[in-house]
Every structure is written in structure tokens, then in C-alpha cells.
Symmetry: C2
Subunit: 506 residues, 2 copies
Amino acid sequence: MNSPFLSMGQETYHVSLKNVFGQNRRKLCKALQQKPVSEGNLVVYLHGGPSETRFDSDHEPLFRQESYFWYLTGVKEPDCAIAIDVATQHATLFIPNLPASYATIMGRIKTREEWKEHYQVGEVLFTDDVEDTLAGMLEKRSNGTKSKLLLMKGLNSDSGKVYEPPVTIVNHEKLSSHVDVELLFPILAECRVFKTAAEQGVLQFVTEVTSFAHAYVMRNMKPGMMEYQGESLFRHYCYYNYGCRLVGYTPICGCGPDAAVLHYGHAGEPNARQSNVGDNCLFDMGAEYFGYGSDVTCSFPIDGVFNDRQRPIYQAVLNAQIAVYRMIKPGVSYVACHKAAEAAILKVLVEVGIVNLAGKTIDDLVEMRLGAVFMPHGLGHFIGIDTHDVGGYLAGHPERSELPGLKSLRTARILLENMTLTVEPGCYFIDHLLNEALAEGSFLKVHMNEAKVNHYRGFGGVRLEDVIVVTADGIINYTLCPRTIEEVESVMAGGKWPPTEDIAPE
Amino acid sequence: MNSPFLSMGQETYHVSLKNVFGQNRRKLCKALQQKPVSEGNLVVYLHGGPSETRFDSDHEPLFRQESYFWYLTGVKEPDCAIAIDVATQHATLFIPNLPASYATIMGRIKTREEWKEHYQVGEVLFTDDVEDTLAGMLEKRSNGTKSKLLLMKGLNSDSGKVYEPPVTIVNHEKLSSHVDVELLFPILAECRVFKTAAEQGVLQFVTEVTSFAHAYVMRNMKPGMMEYQGESLFRHYCYYNYGCRLVGYTPICGCGPDAAVLHYGHAGEPNARQSNVGDNCLFDMGAEYFGYGSDVTCSFPIDGVFNDRQRPIYQAVLNAQIAVYRMIKPGVSYVACHKAAEAAILKVLVEVGIVNLAGKTIDDLVEMRLGAVFMPHGLGHFIGIDTHDVGGYLAGHPERSELPGLKSLRTARILLENMTLTVEPGCYFIDHLLNEALAEGSFLKVHMNEAKVNHYRGFGGVRLEDVIVVTADGIINYTLCPRTIEEVESVMAGGKWPPTEDIAPE
Ligand SMILES: [Mn+2]
Ligand SMILES: [Mn+2]
């Protein structure tokens, strides 16, 4: 018999509760056990996400679990909580005690025994009992040294928001003296930076689905179609065929000038432009499967054949990916990778005359941060349960740069085995950035060929984004998209994908 | 030249800013002008929804505007606000003053003049100026009588949640003495109950799209398919073909026993069951287009042909719809419609022997609330910008019943012209409700044929849901789904939809 798993039926990928979430809990407990902090008990406690409605209405947005809680549980239902005894690794899941009327509206109420079996935890109790249970866990086996109740509190370096511990626990009379909000957050975030084999399996699966979906979209886009039709094709492919109900982030489907807007596709710019002959398209979309997401970008000419304006820019960005893949291995700085990508792009921009060396070397231009005019975002980011996964700037690791481009890097860390990241160099023609660089007094002006630059205004941009894992001596690229110019043109002409023979450089 | 409109390109339905949202503002102002409350100025002020991220992460869920603010503006962007001078109907839209860096990530920053032209408001200012502008509006033309600043505060009768006015305004030193939180809420909610011609146009459009999508799903479902594949087909059809990016609510795609779970399909029960030969399917899904949603349910046999167990239940529910459509016109109580639907269903349940009259009449059984065992929800609800649209239990209208079934009715109002509602009778076999009715001591027990009831356990249920508008002398049914048994079987056999000749009773 299979051990319990999450899936969208027998046919879709099986996410093992023990191998993914059970292993995540063990990893956290081991990391905490290595800290010589206390001889009393250590108890980890996290709230799951609450059920919510849209403003004052009864509209219930589809619930998606809070990511740290998901990491430790795989519990898809709202209004739960978990307590973990670090020494024994015993996990207690708390679930809401639902009224009988719930069954009519929401479905049969599962017993605590069923929850325990399904989610593979040590015990299941009702959330009414959280405080008393925690108090009991903190007393038990205490030998004179004070037990600690470890709660999450810390800064998310991508959002700038703080994870705040639950006030009802922090202020509870029986618990408050045990509360520690320092220890847990950095250790749990650090656990999430390195993916287990089981997590890597899910990320590989969801990236393959995402890759094939991109090929499907590419093959079906034609001039005159609306940008959002590409989004719809993508979502349908991933959900209908592989059970991926959610996407990791709002799909970005920019054609023509929209391709220069990095996070196009949001409510204010909802992928609602009609594509034109000659448009370059930039589609950044990733499926999510049971909490693990992908993040892949393809760029392609809407007509299926690269024109002379598109070809060098595309090749520049592809060269940047290749340069990065040649250098990544444990011990390499992600900042160095970012600069290598810029150098590869600038090299082509010099070749086609958009950028002038004017007596400098490519490396000089990189250090002058000229690359950030054309690629104002970071090379990539950790990826996992959040698209921009946590741990990019934890204490003890390199700090965020203040320089153009580099300040947008979501991590400056030294890469290590089992980190999963995106590699997403891009080259864009963004009016207000070009204008700044071309302005009188700009020290970059001498390196910009204004006539050539103007020839590319309105072009949009190219981004190529893969999901990779760092291995002991290099990388595995999970992404299986058409990548070379030949591959893209072949797929858009109706060619088979994946091909029998992979001619992509990685 | 067209007056400004919202659409997903030239090809999709045009939602006129003036005819929809401008007209909504005029209607509110007229309703407020009829109240002899003050000789000073009346100023209406509402916040739009804020931009948000998922918990502490930087994941941005796709923004969907708060419904009251949407009603008055049609503004799809977050972080805005509106002030309306009631006497002059002059509308001031407040927008965020975005930094230049916004353009790189989110797109070109539109000028205030562009916002004004696009959204057809009197003036556009930055949200930094809200307090001073309101203070100015409250002073202006004041003739000794105190001006009032009208803020929203009131109970949503579907969610039980309260719309709270913004504290920064309520407590502002220049504004607090003007604040009134009593007047606006009931009047604005009442405005939303009656749809203008332009609103009806959008609701009709989105219901037609929804109807054709249901027919498409029905035709493509086969035994062995997963429930969520129906959801995926529906979403893709509506988005790809008609630009409906959102659905009004999480699609409910229950096959077999799942069809008895009224709000199946949520995160805990994510439409992830495989359909089996012999399953009855209940698919409740509605597209949303620029804030106006539909809500339609179809029920059909997965094999395409009704079997002997399915046929009478389906016909009973269809009879209930027909009975209701025959009686609805201005002046009729929605409670009476609910009871008529129950009577039509009970009549068939008696005919097939599931229910025993045992000396009573159908009307007696209705008054005993036997119908609520088989249809525990209300007959329907107002529909518009919210799926369960507001105004169901405003003061001055009939109060909510406490009786089984009727207590779930989302309005007990007397129906009037230009109300838009769903009519969604259903008949379900829900174990815990059947068990209660069959229990020793239940006064309903004598009316339940236990053997016949047991024959239907696991069947799930049938619901048929249309969106209608009340006219001067009856209804218009916007829904264009296959409805008769012949129509459903024809479409599932590959027949054309809509047919050349409409043989549905309504
Ligand atoms: Mn990315
Ligand atoms: Mn409904």
C-alpha cells in the first residue's frame, strides 16, 4: 500500500506526506536540537492561515495555506495550528471543531483519527485545546530548566513585512513566560532554503508541467490574439492535464511594449492588449502543485519567426543563461552570477551597436552598473513554496547591495547544494530608464548609442527564466522549454515538443 | 466615437463607464437628495480596497475591487478612494501618487487627466489630499447648517460581517464632527438591489457566457474524468472566448455523492474526485466580467443519458423552477416562491414514493418544513457585484425566518421590478439530514419511506440555477442552458447549443 499522499486523483503526481512534510519537520527539529539553548523542552507552535471573506461580503476567496505552516504540515484546510515537541519530534495538529451543519455546506466532517492518518501526524486535537495542550507540553519532562515555546517573528526580505506571532499565545497567562520569538524564525527560514529530495521532486514535476504548458501556449499564439488568451491556455493546460489548480503568481503575458513591464498582468494592466504582427512576447507563468510552485519565462515572436530586431536581443539573454549555468556550483556567489549575466548581455549590445565601449571593457561597464539600465531586476531568486522563497538575506549572509540592479537581487548568498533558484536574465527597453541614462550629465550617456537605442523603443523586452537546483558540482535545470532560436521557431511552426533530441545548450 | 468603456479589447463586451458607474452615482445622489436630513452639504466618501500580499510574503493575490466602491466607480486599481458631493453629483477620485520606479515593475504611470477621462469622473486628486479635500467640500456652500460626511457602516446579512468606516477619517480632527455613519449604508445597499438597464446588460451578457460555457462543459464530460477537469473547461471557455478572467465564486463540480455538498469545491474538497459511470453531476459555476457575476447550476448524468433514479429527481427540480417562474412578478413574496418550489419537489417525491402523504396534503408538508430535509438552502438570492448581492434583509423589509430551510433564504423581500435574482431549487440526499428526519421521535418520520430514501443515499443531488430579472409583469430569464431532459441529453450526445429552436419551458 502507498503511504498517504496528496494528489488530484490517482493519475496526478503523488506528494508523500511523510517524505515531504514529515521530513521537513524532522529537519527543523534536528536544526533546533543543535542549538545549545536550553535543557528544558522546546516546543514549536505555528498558526495556519485563517478562513477569510472578501471585505464584509460572504465571498470566500479560494484558500491557500500560509507557506511556513504548509512547509511543516501539508494541511490544505484553514483555521488549523501545529505544535511540535522538538526533542521527540511529536507533532500535534489542531483542527477546528466543526458544527454538524458544516457537513451540509462543506462536506462530511472527518474524524480526528482520519485527519491523523491523512496528514501523518502524531496526534490531532481541536483548536479549543491549544493553550492547555501547549501548557502541558511545556511542563512535561521539565527538569528545573525553563521550557521554551518557540514562535515565529521575523522580516520577509522580499515584502518588507514582518511575520508576527499570535498575540493570544504571546499574552496567554500560562504561556507568556515561556515564549521565545528569536530562535525559530531564522532557523525555519534557513531550513526552507535547502530543498529535500522529495521537495525537489515536486519542484521538478511542476516545472516540467509549466515547461510543456509554455510550449503549448507558444504553439497556439498567433498575431491578433489577445494577451490573456495565452494566460487562459496556460492555466487550462496545467489544470486540466496535471491538476494544478493554482498558479504561483499572476501570469505576465506582455506582447510588444508590454513586455518591458516587469510585473505586467496585474489588475491594473490585465493582459488585455491585442498582439500585432512583429510583436515580441514575454510570457512569465508558473503552475503551482500542492503548495510548490514554478516560475518560468519564455519570450518569442508572435509571428513564429525572429526578425532582425528580435534575434540579437534574444540571443544575448540566452547567452546570459548559458554563462550563468557554466559557473554555478557550490561556493559561487549569486552576485557574481548576476554580473556574468549582465556581461553576456552587454557583449551582444556592444556587438549590435546599442552600447558603445568608448574605451572601457565589458567588465568596466558592468561595474559602472550600465547593465541595470537594460536589466533593472535581479538575476533570480530562491523558489519553493513561495515564488520568491524565503531566506535571501538572513543574518550571517551577505547583505543587500545598494547599487542599481544589484539592489533588486533577492539574495546575495553563496550558492550551495540543494538550493533551488530561478535564473532569469532579461534585456528590456524601458523608456524612463533609457531617458535617465541618455540625459545630459549622465555618466552612462557616452556608452549609449542614442539612435540605436531609439530604434528599440517600444520593442518591450526579452526574459528567459528557468528553475534550477544546485548540485554537488553544478546544476540540474528542471526547465524543459524551447530555448534556442531554432527550438522556438520549430515549436511555433507546429513542431513536436519535447523533441526526440534536445539541442538546447543545457 | 465611443464613450469610454471597460472591456478586454474591442471584441469583448463594452461596459460603459457613464451608463453603468456614472448612473449608479446619480442614483445614489438622487436617493440621498430625497432624505430631508440637512440643509448643509452632504458628502459621500468611500475607500476602495487596498493592495495586499499573502500573509508576510510578497505574493500579491490578483486584486478584485471592493464591491460598494466598484458600484460607484468601476475603478479596477487598488488603493483609491472616492468623494461625491451629493447636491452637485460631482465625483472626486483619489488615486495613489506613485513613485517613478513603479513604471518599471507595474507599467506606465497614467496622468490624473488620463484617469479622469478613463473613469469619467469630475476630478482626480492624490490620496494624500483626501482629508483636506473633504474638509473643503464640507465647508463649501455651507449656509449655517452643518454639512455631513457620509461614511459606510452596516451589517452584511449573508456574511454577518460589518462594513466599518475608515478610522483615519472618523477620527480626523477636521472631519470627525461632520461624520455620519447611519444614513449612507442602507440607502447605498438599497440602490444596489435594483439594477439599472446598463447593469442588466452586463448581467445578461455574463449569464449568457456562463450558459454556453456550461453547455460546453456538459458536452465534454465523460465517465472517468476528474471533477476539476469540468472546472478547468469552464474557466478556459469563459476567459479565452469572452475575457472573463475571474469567476464569481469557487466552482462547485460535484459528481456522485459530492453533488450533495452544497459548497463543494473549496480548498478542503477541491473537486478532486474521479467520476464514475452512473454518476449524477452537479456543476455550479459562474463567470464574472468587470465586477458583475453570474451564478448558474446545471445537473446532468455523466453518461449523457438519465437513468431511472436520476430522471424523477431532475424533473422535480425542473418543475420547481417552472412553478416559480409562473408566479414571479412585482408584489410576490420570495418566501412564497421558495414554498412553491418545495411543493413542486415534494409532489414528485410523493409520486415516486420517497415521501408519504400519510393523510396530509403537499401544502401541509411544506408548512411542516419537510421540504427543508431535501432542500436545506434558500431558493436563491440577489445577484450582481457580489454573488450573494446585498440588501436581502434591510430594515423595513420582512425579517429572516427561523424555520428550517426558510432561515437560509438570503432575502424574504417582496419582489419588485429590476431586482435580479437566482432561482435555484434543489433536491439532495444528505445523510445527516435524512437520519434526523428518520430518527425515532422525529415528527417527519411517518412521511419518509425509509427503503426508498435509502435507495437514494449516495445519489448526491440535483440543483438547477438560473439568473433572472423581475420585469413589470413577470421575468426575463438570462440563462440559456440546456434545461429539459431532452435538451441535456441532446447536448451531451454532441447536439448543437444553443439549438435553432428553444424547447425549454422558459
Ligand atoms: Mn521569477
Ligand atoms: Mn447561487
